[in-house]
């Protein structure tokens, strides 16, 4: 074959805007998700300052509503999921022995739509007010009658970001199904890849429901629709059903990858094969399935009747079974293992009891009769922060410390890492443990202030102190990243004595990942070779030219187009004082212009076939890369 293609190679900023390399896109996801995590964290701290003492007037009631809405929306959609996507992008192709993801171009498109969607939600702060109807945006509160333009930013911004998530999910599914290295059967896949596989499946079936909900909300608010407008025959409970049939699976989209990370960490740092691997796979798939069967437990108090409530209550409690299987498997993996207490390992071990506590309060909430008492109190707030922060965020931090050397070629500082862990871990329990009692003692969620001497004063004060400690823990992680960034790239290819394929290639990996695809001969492929006394993997193919996709600016431009179109639709009916602006938006010039940009890019992409380029074997030899 002749490989005479020449390809434009970019550097600097253009390299990042045009990259289709899954490792770089992983870094972009991690950076953008981390940025939104800081914004969401700042919002959390402002919320806790306001609630620090009774009758506080640090922020107004309106600002408080905006803060809680944006905190929830940002953390779930713009921080937690993108950081997971960052790790998935960085790790999955390496774990299954692939040179790339299935659709590199779409991977880039997924990142940029997420980024510009997230930006659109957040610019609302500067353009007339952030969304203020809670992250669940229940109508009629979120209707144009009771909420300002913030909800338009919410609906359209999340719609655009959702495209990115869906595209990413499909990409990972195809990558995992079609691009595993020879010998990498499904039952030899590392747990993180398995968890990401099931997560992607949930994304595929949950996100389109959210898309319809957001479209319906947009239609109601901007185009005079009646989906949720009771005066036109609409039904507000319909929104709740649509939202939660997406929203409950979303919880498992968040937590399953964390389960996967913990499985990797616990097994690596205990120097043992994961206990009950096949039951772990079974439990993951079962949780993925049950996640769709339980959405009504968010609606026990709506009045759907005892039969419905009872069925969804039982289905909800069933999830405790596979989750319990996982918890015991992690404990049995550590049992008798040679445990090393690295930062990643600390996060992994702290995850287990913390998540169990969140799970147990989840079973408590699954009892409809009891839920009538807990509903909309701080008990619920405590519960979901225990599973999402105590589960997912501990998992992400663990994953970051675990895979940082692989992604960046530098090992994060362990002393600083441990300090950040203890600040975050103790701060977390200080913040949220007491909120269980606040809830049981009657403090409703979403209130911007409270009267003194109701028994809530001290616990709220403690909770705020804890929030500051978590903030310090997060800052220490940032400082750690900064300091480590100043050091040379000298990380070993396998700094933790790892078990899976990503540790067989240099840190950071070359752009083609594997010079020769590895032959996988069992679960924990690298460990199997190590125990057989081999220094490296057996190659499954001779050295040959490696096909690479070309970089492209189109995904970036397409997302900018969607961003512009989103603004255009939002301001369609807006009362501008400026005649020119009114014309631009009122006649849909802006919205149609934005869509034209996006569709023109789609047209270009479809008409011009880009066959990519090749890295020739001679080039591979020069770099002296080990297989």
């Amino acid at each position: 074959m002749a490989h005479a293609h020449t390809v434009k190679r970019y550097s600097g900023l253009m390299d990042w805007l045009t990259t289709v390399d899954h490792k770089k896109i992983g870094i972009l996801y991690l950076a953008a998700g981390g940025f939104f995590f800081l914004i969401g964290g700042l919002e959390a701290i402002l919320i806790r300052i306001q609630l620090m003492k009774p009758m506080n007037d640090f922020v107004s009631a309106q600002t408080f509503n905006e803060l809680i809405t944006m905190h929830g929306t940002t953390m779930i959609f713009l921080a937690a999921m993108p950081m997971i996507f960052g790790l998935m992008n960085a790790v999955i192709p390496l774990q299954i022995g692939a040179r790339d993801v299935a659709f590199p171009f779409l991977n880039s498109l997924g990142f940029w739509t997420f980024f510009f969607g997230g930006l659109l939600v957040n610019v609302s702060w500067f353009l007339g007010g952030a969304p203020d109807a809670g992250w669940t945006a229940y109508p009629p509160l979120s209707s144009e009658r009771y909420s300002g333009m913030g909800i338009d930013f919410y609906a359209i911004g999340l719609q655009i970001a959702g495209i990115g998530t869906l595209v990413g999910g499909i990409n990972f599914l195809v990558t995992i199904i079609n691009m595993r290295a020879p010998g990498m059967t499904f039952m030899r896949m590392p747990m993180f890849t398995w968890a990401s596989f099931v997560t992607s499946m949930i994304i595929l079936f949950a996100f389109p429901a959210l898309a319809v909900g957001l479209i319906a909300l947009t239609f109601d608010r901007l185009f005079g629709g009646n989906f949720f407008d009771v005066s036109g025959g609409g039904n507000v409970v319909l929104w709740q059903h649509i939202f939660w049939i997406f929203g409950h699976p979303e919880v498992y989209i968040l937590i399953l990858p964390a389960f996967g990370i913990i499985s990797e960490i616990v097994s690596t740092f205990s120097k043992k094969r994961l206990f009950g691997y096949s039951s772990m796979v079974f439990a993951t798939v079962l949780i993925g399935f049950l996640g769709f069967m339980v959405w009504v437990h968010h609606m026990f108090t709506v009045g759907l009747g005892p039969v419905g409530n009872a069925l969804f209550s039982i289905a909800t409690m069933l999830i405790a079974v596979p989750t319990g299987i996982k918890i015991f498997n992690w404990i049995f993996t550590m049992w008798g293992g040679r445990i090393s207490f690295t930062t990643a390992s600390l996060y992994g071990m702290a995850f287990i009891p913390t998540f169990v506590m969140g799970g147990v309060t989840g079973v408590m909430l699954a009892v409809p009769g009891a839920d009538y008492q807990y509903h909309d109190t701080y008990f619920v707030v405590a519960h979901f922060h225990y599973v999402i922060v105590g589960g997912l965020i501990l998992g992400i931090f663990g994953g970051i410390f675990y895979w940082w050397p692989k992604m960046f070629g530098r090992v994060l500082n362990e002393t600083l890492g441990k300090a950040s862990f203890w600040f975050f871990f103790i701060g977390f329990h200080l913040t949220f443990f007491v909120q269980h009692f606040l809830g049981l003692w009657g403090m409703p969620r979403r209130v911007y202030t409270y009267l003194e001497n109701q028994g809530w004063d001290d616990l709220n004060w403690i909770s705020t102190i804890g929030a500051f400690a978590m903030g310090v823990g997060t800052l220490l992680v940032l400082i750690n990243i900064f300091i480590t960034g100043l050091k040379p790239r000298n990380a070993d290819s396998d700094p933790w004595d790892g078990r899976t394929l990503e540790w067989t290639i240099p840190s950071p990996p070359p752009e083609y990942n594997f010079k020769q695809l590895p032959l996988v001969r069992g679960l924990d492929a690298l460990w199997k070779e190590k125990s057989a006394g081999n220094k490296e993997m057996t190659p499954a193919e001779p050295i040959g030219p490696i096909h690479m996709p070309s970089p492209s600016l189109l995904p970036f431009i397409m997302s900018v187009g969607l961003f512009i179109a989103g603004l255009g639709f939002m301001y369609k009916n807006y009362d501008f004082t400026n005649g020119f602006m009114s014309m631009l938006f009122g006649y849909n010039i802006v919205s149609i212009g934005g869509l034209v940009i996006t569709f023109a890019c789609m047209f270009l992409r479809s008409v011009y076939d880009d066959h990519g380029w090749h890295i020739e074997p001679e080039e591979l030899q020069d770099k002296g890369v080990k297989a």
Binding site: F103, L204, A206, F207, F223, N226, D229, L238
Partner: protein
């Protein structure tokens, strides 16, 4: 990479019997598209659920029973189902490596798609004339959303396949263009299946009550 079979006297000698699945890129594209259609199923499922929840909320506006004309919808259904048959013929031509055949049958698909769209636009104009606008009732909003989403899918499909026909005459049938044809046919079948449900759930149930 792409294995070469000396098979098929209609097409270029180098093209394998199932050119759409000959490369990893092609197989990825087809699998990814099947998964995408899984997501689309949820999208339409949610729209159907919303419509079913709201279809009796007519809010002083006209009801479906008053408006729907089954003969018109039956003709539209016949046209769309036939267009799906044409896209099957295009895939058969693809497997014969018959470029002209692919273009002919895809052209027929597009033509019938346009006819269907014309009927739908006429239908919507008629309903608006009878007093059923998007804002009239929860029934009207959910009806126009569900059927309109399907219509938008048909429109996109028509534009997509038309562009594909033009591309084919320039790039011919290769392992790169074959998956594109295959995937477009999958999309068109999906649109057809959704319409069968719309015909049943919206029009037949709307007429019977």
């Amino acid at each position: 990479m792409s294995q070469t079979h000396a098979h098929g006297h209609h097409g270029p000698e180098t093209l394998p019997p199932e050119p759409e699945k000959a490369t990893l890129e092609g197989r990825n594209k087809i699998l990814g598209f099947w998964l995408f259609l899984g997501g689309e199923t949820v999208l339409f499922g949610t729209l159907f659920a919303s419509y079913l929840a709201l279809r009796n909320q007519i809010n002083d506006g006209p009801s479906g029973e008053q408006l729907f004309s089954l003969p018109l919808v039956a003709v539209a259904t016949f046209i769309l189902l036939t267009s799906s048959l044409f896209s099957v013929m295009a895939i058969q031509a693809l497997h014969r490596h018959d470029l002209k055949g692919i273009q002919f049958w895809l052209g027929a698909t597009v033509l019938f798609g346009v006819l269907f769209l014309g009927l739908e636009i006429y239908e919507f104009f008629h309903y608006v004339h009878e007093g059923l606008t998007f804002s009239t009732s929860a029934f009207s909003t959910s009806f126009y959303s569900l059927v309109g989403f399907h219509g938008a899918h048909v429109l996109l499909g028509v534009l997509w396949i038309a562009l594909l026909i033009v591309q084919l005459s320039k790039k011919k049938l290769t392992v790169v263009t074959a998956p594109k044809v295959y995937v477009a046919a999958l999309y068109w079948h999906f649109i057809d299946v959704v319409w069968v449900f719309i015909f049943t759930v919206v029009y037949l149930m709307g007429k019977v009550g």
